[in-house]
């Protein structure tokens, strides 16, 4: 569905046709749940947070100024909510010092997929252990397919700030995961 369909659905809801909101929910449930999941890595909680985001969107529909597309407004609203929720009840994060290096791949007989999954999982846990401002910038950046502008809009921050936080977040990641990032994936070569 396009932005104009979002707009017409919003107008119908504002005119009193509540059922028209279902189109918005069905269209954006996947992205909103996945964004929440990236913040908390808990499926149940992600759905609860996404539901609350939709409720807030419904309550605040008349506050959407049509100078930005509906999805931009919706993601900004959801991001704001998820950040507050995670501040209120933090997800189970571990500190950067507790992040274990991945197992020695030479001694492992697991296949390449398992090895990659381990590495990815370790990096994700390292992201979770970052200070919130760097973590949020990284989460939004990768959620929006590495689009800094979209990440900045969702976070309601200037692009320059987001770039700086991405830079610093990656520096922190690199400092905690030097071996993993330096070692080329030998099995792929």
């Amino acid at each position: 569905m396009s932005a104009s369909e979002d707009q017409s659905a919003v107008e119908r809801v504002l005119a009193g046709d509540i059922a028209a909101f279902e189109g918005i929910v069905r269209r954006w449930q996947g992205p909103l749940i996945n964004l929440a999941y990236r913040f908390c890595h808990d499926r149940g909680r992600a759905e609860e947070m996404a539901q609350e985001a939709f409720l807030r969107a419904y309550r605040g529909l008349n506050q959407w100024r049509k100078d930005a597309v509906f999805s931009t407004w919706l993601f900004a609203l959801a991001t704001n909510l998820y950040r507050s929720e995670l501040r209120r009840i933090p997800a189970r994060f571990v500190s950067l010092d507790e992040i274990a290096e991945p197992a020695d791949t030479r001694a492992s007989d697991r296949d390449l997929e398992d090895e990659n999954e381990d590495r990815n999982s370790t990096v994700r846990r390292a992201v979770f252990a970052l200070p919130s401002k760097y973590r949020e910038a990284l989460i939004l950046f990768y959620f929006h397919d590495m689009d800094v502008t979209a990440a900045a809009r969702s976070l309601a921050l200037p692009e320059g700030t987001v770039k700086a936080r991405l830079f610093r977040g990656r520096e922190l990641l690199r400092s905690k995961l030097p071996q993993m990032l330096a070692v080329p994936r030998l099995k792929e070569a």
Binding site: L55, R124, M146, R170, A182
Partner: protein
């Protein structure tokens, strides 16, 4: 659409590409089958809830004005007590005016004893009025 800022920003393209690769490959989760229905139920409930009763400004405003006035008076009285007390305590208590007796036989001339008595009286009156209003409210409920 994609803006690869990794290598350009840090001068370490290989490591950033590695991070990009790992963090971009996040698993997608699918919404539960009943998610949209649950959201719409919550929204229907929200829509069915009557709007909140607006604050009764017309009724509350006179009380708030009177309350504010009393608060300002009390503030002025407290400030006056603290400003004039040191002065009256250093000046010898010689009064040319005839001694005025208040309702409780208090002197109107000042002094720490007088101020304390007036304060106690005010607090007592406030306490009595609060108790009275609470009793009245409880009687109505």
């Amino acid at each position: 659409m994609k803006r690869m800022i990794g290598g350009l920003a840090t001068g370490r393209p290989a490591e950033n590409e590695e991070i990009d690769h790992m963090l971009s490959s996040e698993d997608e989760i699918l919404p539960s089958s009943g998610f949209a229905v649950a959201v719409m139920d919550a929204i229907q409930r929200e829509a069915a809830t009557p709007p909140p009763i607006p604050f009764p400004w017309k009724r509350a405003l006179p009380g708030m004005v009177v309350g504010g006035f009393i608060f300002v008076l009390a503030l002025v009285a407290v400030v006056a007590i603290f400003v004039y007390l040191p002065m009256t305590s250093t000046i010898p208590q010689v009064s040319a005016a005839p001694p005025l007796l208040g309702p409780l036989g208090l002197r109107g001339g000042g002094g720490i004893e007088s101020a304390t008595k007036w304060t106690v009286l005010a607090l007592l009156m406030a306490f009595v009025s609060v108790k009275l209003s609470m009793r009245l409210a409880a009687g109505r409920a």
